[in-house]
């Protein structure tokens, strides 16, 4: 138990110190009035607001956002992998799809928000659609590029064993693409949080993004940042979870 604590301190001690320093500096800067509190509130004010609104934030808005993020992520992963794999297997598909994927990323979401509302109404699906649009792209790119990552010699070997395209894909290409795919997943899960936030701005009645927007209109910066704090925390936790999965999956990879 002691050593685990020690290890933890070693790993995250520096991080904690830096965080404490930065937060103190931030508090000081705001207290001194270098930055107006309504633009950037002091950490203490954010904390107070967090405590004040804890019930609302934790029991109402956080679960709503979390749900959007998780459903959005699952759909992004499935669709992203599928599209990436599809593009890998079919050159015509790749040629046709890639421009549309890039278009889907460059269209400002707010410009098509009425379309979303037309199609999905104010249900959770409009938020999930936005989340999906924000988060699937890194998965597609990293899956597609990962699958391109060579391994020709292994592929040939498996061909001589009579393996079909699918078996080669499963046995060689996926393991080789895994590091790249996991990179994409890590980005994607963060973008899911962003996407859910944007989705809620485009029309919602609950969620951390909704809350932050409402409070922002009210110039209640401390409450806005309390919501952002939770959003960031959500992002970090999800990111770390994927990193953990990555570590597990790539454990025996460092010698390739």
């Amino acid at each position: 138990m002691k050593t685990r604590l020690n290890k933890w301190t070693g790993e995250y001690g520096l991080f904690l110190i830096v965080v404490i320093l930065l937060v103190s500096l931030w508090e000081w800067v705001v207290r001194q009035g270098f930055i107006p509190a309504f633009i950037l509130p002091a950490p203490s004010a954010i904390w107070r607001s967090l405590v004040e609104n804890r019930q609302l934030l934790l029991e109402e808005h956080l679960p709503a956002t979390l749900k959007e993020v998780l459903i959005g992520f699952v759909i992004s992963v499935m669709a992203g992998l599928l599209i990436g794999i599809g593009m890998h297997f079919s050159r015509p598909l790749e040629k046709v799809l890639y421009p549309f994927l890039v278009i889907s990323q460059t269209i400002p979401l707010i410009a098509i928000s009425p379309i979303f509302i037309m199609w999905f109404g104010y249900s959770i699906w409009s938020k999930i659609a936005v989340t999906f649009l924000t988060a699937f792209f890194p998965i597609v790119v990293s899956t597609y590029d990962g699958l391109m990552s060579g391994g020709n010699e292994y592929r040939e070997l498996l061909q001589t064993m009579g393996a079909n395209r699918w078996a080669i894909f499963k046995t060689v290409q996926v393991p080789l693409a895994l590091p790249s795919i996991l990179s994409g997943l890590k980005m994607s899960v963060v973008y899911c949080v962003v996407g859910a936030t944007i989705g809620e701005w485009l029309g919602a009645s609950v969620g951390l993004g909704y809350f932050s927007r409402r409070m922002s209109g009210n110039l209640q910066a401390d409450a806005v940042f309390a919501a952002i704090f939770l959003l960031s925390l959500l992002g970090i936790v999800l990111f770390l979870l994927i990193s953990l999965v990555e570590k597990k999956l790539l454990k025996h990879r460092f010698r390739i």
């Binding site: 633009i39 609302l56 928000s113 701005w201 110039l219």
Partner: protein, 316 residues
Amino acid sequence: GKSDEKTAGTSTSSGDQKLEKVSLMLDWYPNAVHSFLFVANEKGYFKEQGLDVDIQMPADTNDPLRLVAANKIDMALSYQPQVLVARGEDIPVQSFAALVRHPLNQLMVPADGSIQTPKDLEGKTIGYPSIPLDEAIVKTMIKSDGGDADKLKMVDVGWDLIPAMATKKTDALMGGYINHEKLLLEKEGHPMRTINPADYGVPDYYELVLVGSEKGLKQNSGLYKKFIAAITKGQAYVAAHPEEGLAILMNHEDKTSPLDKEIETKSLEILLPLMDAKEKPFGYQDPDTWEKVAKWLESTNIIKQKLKAEDAFINF
């Protein structure tokens, strides 16, 4: 999901009669100006009329108009000039009630600054959210005050009206509301002087109107009549008991995003007289106002095609 459940809840509580579903999209997030809606809901005025109103919040101030026109929602809150602009773009919407009868969107300058009238803006920087309408208002104001509108520097400040002013990046502000941005700036220690566009050549337009689609208003006029009856009652109640009216709004909002009580109280104080139609019924629209606003919009080139102002509204 959530709001559906809530409305479903109210409809079951009424029990005996079947309620007609109505969807309404606000112009912005719920605030003091919407008190009458929440009062009408809470006090059962909608139910009395057989209505079950589902209140939505928009992504963008222009979404309500489009979604109403597309018959995706039944009615929406918008702005009188915007209704005309929409009609100019062949978006089939009509206003069926004027809620706030005078401009809230006023020119704001620092209270302790040198700018007294619009012509003092010459050579100054003014922040605005890059809406052509705001641009036209400012230019008309300066021109009517005898100034040169070309000597004005207009900066798009995006959505950050308050910080633009508070951090002194701009000398004046257009696009802020006297019942919101002004109050917030004051609270942060930046008192503002407001100059009403209506005093400087801009027609005294209706800031907030209720709109429906041409088709909906024609086919389903009964629904809109019932709705007006309910909100008239709601507004009357708010006018009579502003504190309680506000409390109902606040109470509703506390469930998700608490409002600043102080600001909203002041806001309602400002709003109530501006919403009062005096001897006319609540929501009544004066054809003359519509005519004037349409003329002005044409003269400023914001609307490029000739409009029949009387088609833009209906009085029930």
